[in-house]
Symmetry: C2
Subunit: 266 residues, 2 copies
């Protein structure tokens, strides 16, 4: 279906605009992705927007034309509108010429196939959407199965997280859980839980990693609660040669993930 | 010297506020750091603010009292003011109760002691201040000597970079240079230049790293120019198991820096 929208007070415009707020995203179960590059990443990962909104009067890029026809074939909607309305929707003075609305996904712990990948990333109470997006990007790079969000994490479907993921958000399974729920699920099958820690830890280099390996990264300022660390199968520590006693959360996750990858692939 | 300021149009207020702009920071050679934690990090690294500005009518924390007396002893200035004026200065609705003005430093290539550390980080055209700050933090963690900013990088003294560095900005030497200047300086002494690359590269794991090792990280979207890569002594590649062909710049730098650290300390 194709529509042309020129009114600022059109309900679709209001709805798309509201997706900038986390609350509205959760309620609608949808999020907005800006720009052809991310839309093409989504398509390549088998995800199509339900609705595509684009600036009127522009020549259609070949990649966009393909996405459009796939969206229409899948029963989705194409909306053309004015640059001003795109600005209103995205909140940016110079928005990209196209954006898409995707349904959120939450694979759910029960539906994660833990045997499908050797590495899984687990974020606990991570508050910075940029860090979450970077973890998704790293997860894609190390061939992780997905990202499990434990307790109160930032929204992986926020514009900032999606952008920081560089499209990896579309390749990674995402599941949300409280800690007890996660711990119970983890122990219902195979899996090694590893945390970067300063307590009772072994050097991260050469530690006895085993697949499927769940790499647990804690909150940016508090780190992991002590009881969560205690529940891990392995606590590892990275050299800290300077004044600081910790790394950026996404950096710690990446250094550890690449170490685990090297260890498991021997 | 102590002063109390209550007027929004006070020249000191205007000056402090102007430090939110890069242009003004460069002209004044000064930057503003918010919060007791970062100020204490600075003090512990031997750096004191020239001027300390704090909210009136608050009880003075023990750490702050020590910084204050050291600032005064060093000939600096203590300014008390209203919360509203602190809001105006920092641009934040809920600013921290204290901020300090520091002189910027640029060690300059000529004054870098390359033998003083086994690892040096080099950022080329890195535009995200958060990435720069994260690289400073990682540099501190791996015991790097400093961060060399090649070509047009973001400002390491911006509030965002300083915050992301978690105080590591105060421990790291910082030098700025154009590429040709950097290349000339590098070849005037010992030093191995290493880039993460997809071209003609060897696996990053087990590559023949040598101290002092200069780890070169390129622009977030373009990567390194081909000629810069060609000028490197070693091009290494990290596994990319997913759809993406690159890592976040600060993440790539960290994974590589920890690998170099392990190799050199073997």
């Amino acid at each position: 279906m194709h529509r042309h929208i020129t009114g600022f007070s059109n309900p679709t415009v209001k709805h798309l605009r509201s997706l900038r707020d986390r609350k509205h995203r959760r309620r609608a179960g949808e999020f907005l992705v800006e720009g052809l590059r991310l839309l093409e990443d989504a398509r390549a990962s088998g995800r199509l927007p339900r609705l595509l909104v684009k600036a009127e009067g522009r020549e259609t890029h070949e990649l966009l034309a393909r996405i459009e026809s796939e969206v229409v074939a899948a029963g989705g909607e194409i909306v053309t509108t004015t640059p001003d309305i795109l600005t209103k929707i995205t909140g940016k003075a110079n928005p990209q010429a196209v954006a898409g609305v995707f349904g959120e996904w939450d694979t759910g712990l029960a539906r994660l196939d833990r045997g499908a990948a050797a590495i899984w990333l687990v974020a606990q109470d991570l508050r910075d959407p940029g860090n979450l997006g970077t973890m998704l990007r790293t997860g894609d790079a190390v061939g992780a199965g997905g990202l499990i969000l434990v307790d109160d994490c930032a929204d992986p479907f926020s514009a900032e997280a999606v952008r920081a993921s560089m499209g990896a958000v579309f390749t990674q399974a995402i599941a949300r859980a409280r800690w007890t729920e996660f711990a119970e699920w983890l122990r219902s099958g195979e899996g090694q839980l590893v945390a970067a820690s300063l307590r009772d830890a072994v050097p991260y280099r050469g530690a006895p990693y085993a697949a499927p390996c769940f790499i647990l990264i804690g909150n940016e300022s508090q780190g992991l609660p002590e009881s969560y660390e205690a529940a891990c199968d392995l606590r590892v520590t990275m050299p800290m040669r300077g004044r600081a006693d910790s790394l950026n959360a996404a950096v710690a996750g990446a250094v550890l993930a690449y170490e685990v990858l090297a260890a498991l692939e021997g």
